[in-house]
Amino acid sequence: MKKILLILAVTLTSLPVLANDNHRVMDHHAQHEKNQGEMNHDEMNHGEMNHGEMNHGPEHSHGSHEHPTENAKEDVMTMSAPAITTTDDITAALANGGAPVVVDVLGVVCDFCAVAMNKIFGKREEVSALYVDLDKKTLSLVVNKGASLSDEDIENLAKKAGYRIAAIRRDAEALGG
């Protein structure tokens, strides 16, 4: 028993335990907002960002500095804000004039999490389609045309499902624009 506990303890200490990464998404959003205004390149970590999908603002020029990962793999987004996940239901709901919303959710690690979010958000009349993406850690919603679902509503619903949200993006930003 002692040996087993010792092995367990050693294994646990090798894990990236309980690292407080709650702010990673928010941090990037803050950085993203900054990019749309005046950019300070010295403060940015370009190696972790995909500039191809970022709005750098009108003043930004790519010619004056290096991007280590640019052109290496443009389709890999490691720090960018994920766009809405399209499913048949979501595509149809958007085609009907629904408004796209993407919610970054904290603590979503398994299908039970997805079930909880589906049950709670799926009951709302304002929601015409939704999908929980475990890979992106996002909840993609389409709000019915003419209906509204406030950020506070979304936050409260996420809480009822047992989760917390990190960010909410709507409309063009939700579509990745």
Binding site: L6, T11, F112, C113, V115, L134, K137, A161
Partner: protein
């Protein structure tokens, strides 16, 4: 570091970093969950309803096969703390129960009031899983039992929403009232949508393990 200090450290680490074998004993607000467990000690069922995202109330029925004792109890569970991360979730649950235990053996000792308290903790990412749970059960003349179980799990791939999720796990349990007090159970966990199924085999006590959870 002394041995006693190391024991305390390991115990504290276990409490902080673990997940319940019961797989999320509190669901979303308004959600029902059916849990069934069968291991070397008992066969049990728990049906619970989550009145909020951090409190569930359920009915538990358990057959302790070795003693041929059944336990029926009301079981509330509190999600005392949840840590939310971009890539992980960790929880501490406190549970308890009050009910009746009945000796079903030929030389029956009758029935008695039963109560239990327990703690369940977990830390989980898409590919790593650590858990610890403990329960202390008092059944009057039918005997008192304690149980500790810790798990380590690893997912060989990360399934996306609705896909089949597979975990390789190892459970170590300790039951003071058994001949083999500490045993090891390798198991497989399959997880898809609202359903979770586990199958394992206790290699120390030569006993199968089957667990099932369904959320609705």
């Amino acid at each position: 570091m002394t041995l006693s200090a190391m024991r305390a450290w390991v115990a504290a680490l276990g409490v902080l970093l673990s997940v319940s074998a019961a797989a999320r004993p509190v669901s979303y607000t308004g959600g029902w969950t059916l849990l069934q467990t069968a291991n070397r000690a008992s066969t049990a069922g728990l049906l619970h309803y989550s009145i909020s995202h951090n409190v569930s109330v359920g009915v538990r029925h358990e057959w302790q096969r070795g003693d041929d004792v059944t336990l029926t109890a009301l079981q509330p569970t509190l999600l005392a703390k949840r840590w939310y991360g971009h890539n992980y979730q960790a929880n501490v649950y406190l549970t308890g129960g009050l009910g009746t235990a009945t000796d079903r053996s030929v030389a029956s000792l009758g029935s008695d009031t039963a109560s239990f308290v327990g703690v369940m903790t977990d830390w989980e990412t898409r590919t790593l899983f650590v858990s610890y749970e403990a329960r202390f059960l008092e059944q009057g003349k039918l005997g008192n039992h304690s149980m500790h179980a810790a798990r380590f799990g690893w997912a060989p791939y990360t399934g996306d929403t609705g896909e089949l999720h597979t975990w390789l796990m190892l459970e170590v349990d300790h039951r003071k009232h058994f001949d083999n007090k500490t045993t090891v159970t390798p198991l497989l966990r399959f997880f898809k949508g609202p359903a979770l199924f586990e199958a394992g085999y206790n290699v120390t006590d030569s006993a199968p393990m089957f667990n099932f959870t369904y959320r609705f």
